[in-house]
Symmetry: C2
Subunit: 343 residues, 2 copies
Amino acid sequence: MSKTYTIAVIPGDGIGKEVTPWAQQALEKAAEGVAQFTYEPFDLGAERYLRDGAILPDDELERIKKTDAILLGAVGDPRIKAGILERGLLLKLRFALDQYVNLRPSKLYKGVTSPLANPGNIDFVVVREGTEGLYCGAGGAVRRDTSAEVATEVSINTAYGVERVVRYAFELAMKRRKHVTLVHKKNVLINAGDMWQRIVDRIGEEYPEVTHDYSHIDAATIYLVSDPSRFDVILTDNLFGDILTDEAGAVVGGVGYSASGCINASNEYPSMFEPIHGSAPDIAGKGIANPTAAILSAAMLLEHLGFDDAAKKIHAAVESDIAELGSTTRTTDEVGKDILARI
Amino acid sequence: MSKTYTIAVIPGDGIGKEVTPWAQQALEKAAEGVAQFTYEPFDLGAERYLRDGAILPDDELERIKKTDAILLGAVGDPRIKAGILERGLLLKLRFALDQYVNLRPSKLYKGVTSPLANPGNIDFVVVREGTEGLYCGAGGAVRRDTSAEVATEVSINTAYGVERVVRYAFELAMKRRKHVTLVHKKNVLINAGDMWQRIVDRIGEEYPEVTHDYSHIDAATIYLVSDPSRFDVILTDNLFGDILTDEAGAVVGGVGYSASGCINASNEYPSMFEPIHGSAPDIAGKGIANPTAAILSAAMLLEHLGFDDAAKKIHAAVESDIAELGSTTRTTDEVGKDILARI
Ligand SMILES: CC(C)[C@H](C(=O)O)[C@@H](O)C(=O)O
Ligand SMILES: CC(C)[C@H](C(=O)O)[C@@H](O)C(=O)O
């Protein structure tokens, strides 16, 4: 008998609701015979907030903590002031569940048209720190709404937090092309940047087979456009990782093909898997969102639980679907069915 | 008799030394008959620092303050720990001279090959705040080099500082296509982001002809790749501006074509004009750096001093040079001479 896992499902807002069911179906089909899933749905996001004011009630967070993994769609709604759902729900989950590795692979699939004229062979992973930096929520404002207002944002970085994600990146590089690029802005952010660089240098010594180099964030945004195939594992902080992975998504033909895992690598709490695209209010409700990224996030979930073969089935299905049908205009359900048929 | 202006010249490091003389020559030639220049050279940068430990001595800063404008090459040298020259020289100048508008036009010239397959008509200006945000140098570290180290970076934002740069952006938009896009990350950096948005909304009301919208920094990096022609004036903070303008430089075919002005728009202190590329240690000394960006920074200097016609001569010369010869491989001096001949 195969083991049963409990998956928290948070479709969230906008197209999140449209693509998440396909992630579940892909999970089911790929894991047939090796694992079973029960789903615990959570009604969290804009609708819930507008209905009863709740964003992430404590008891629901406690229930989520008891699950084995989380599938998330997208969070964000134009009717709600920016930051409320993002910080109260999405970031609260990442922080409360100590998901310190935000793992974001970028791959240019055969059949996808990159906006770059000569994209080359793009296949890298961004390891983004997920629980520190400017995302801590430290900061404030005084004399709000006067001409003497001052607003601050504080980036908090700890050796504790940096070490564990650096180690993760080097371990990952060992399974890949053995190259780590630290991205920061150490010529300006000298305190945090210097600490990141020292920790990378020190931990790097434990991995003599892995080479590592450094790029400023501004230069890295150039390389993503001019020479993206130079990267294998990009290691960076929370904000720079947010920026780079969106640009990377564009470079590989759109964030519709990019999934991510918010990973608690010490397995104290469940990890969370989500497409990197947002709720896309402009196309929500039309049934035209591409579910591929959500389906790929199901593959990341399977890998995380140790089901590499099941994950590979999804990857192979997505690759063949894109190669054959990637250039056609299809609805969400059509893409979902086409991929499912290939798993 | 035409007026004489004193220009501080800081070639700085690496290719900065190779391209700055061409900026001076372009300045001379374009302003012939309308303005005269005397040059005050400053030996600042890596060589000086390695020789006598000086970065930007007070008396030299005072002399710089008395000039009418500054031509700067580039700052940064791999022999020196990241941050020392950048913060001690380049950023110190920007801050001490209160250069609160960092103006960075991006234009895809005819004859330049963009790395994008379908770049469209790219012509926008980034108005980057230059004296606040994460560049203030606020922050520190405790328990350095231990596993309990904590490093912080503080972004300081004031209504005073934001208002003046927002106003500048709207004024600039009035002379252009009348569209301002605020770029920030207000869904995470809620204190600073909210203040920026409120000030943009308020000042925007004074410019009913100018439309304005908002983009998160992560989404903006996507648009620069997928649809750069959507932008007219991008208004953003110090760090996001640093990141976006390098990506923009890549998208218009390389930072070799991008100039910038660090502008004290109230004219209390001299403004500074520099290419956005760095010192490029990898190609320094080879005589192959492209002086076009430095020459364009001379045009920005002329515009700043009110010599629009002279500036236009440089722009026209650069445009025709690139259109005819942009795809040929030329040395620094060849490009310099070719452009000079067209002024
Ligand atoms: C929605 C937002 C808070 C989030 C982030 O900034 O991390 C998103 O952009 C992402 O990358 O997952
Ligand atoms: C050298 C560095 C400090 C500088 C900056 O970050 O502003 C540079 O990248 C720039 O954009 O002018």
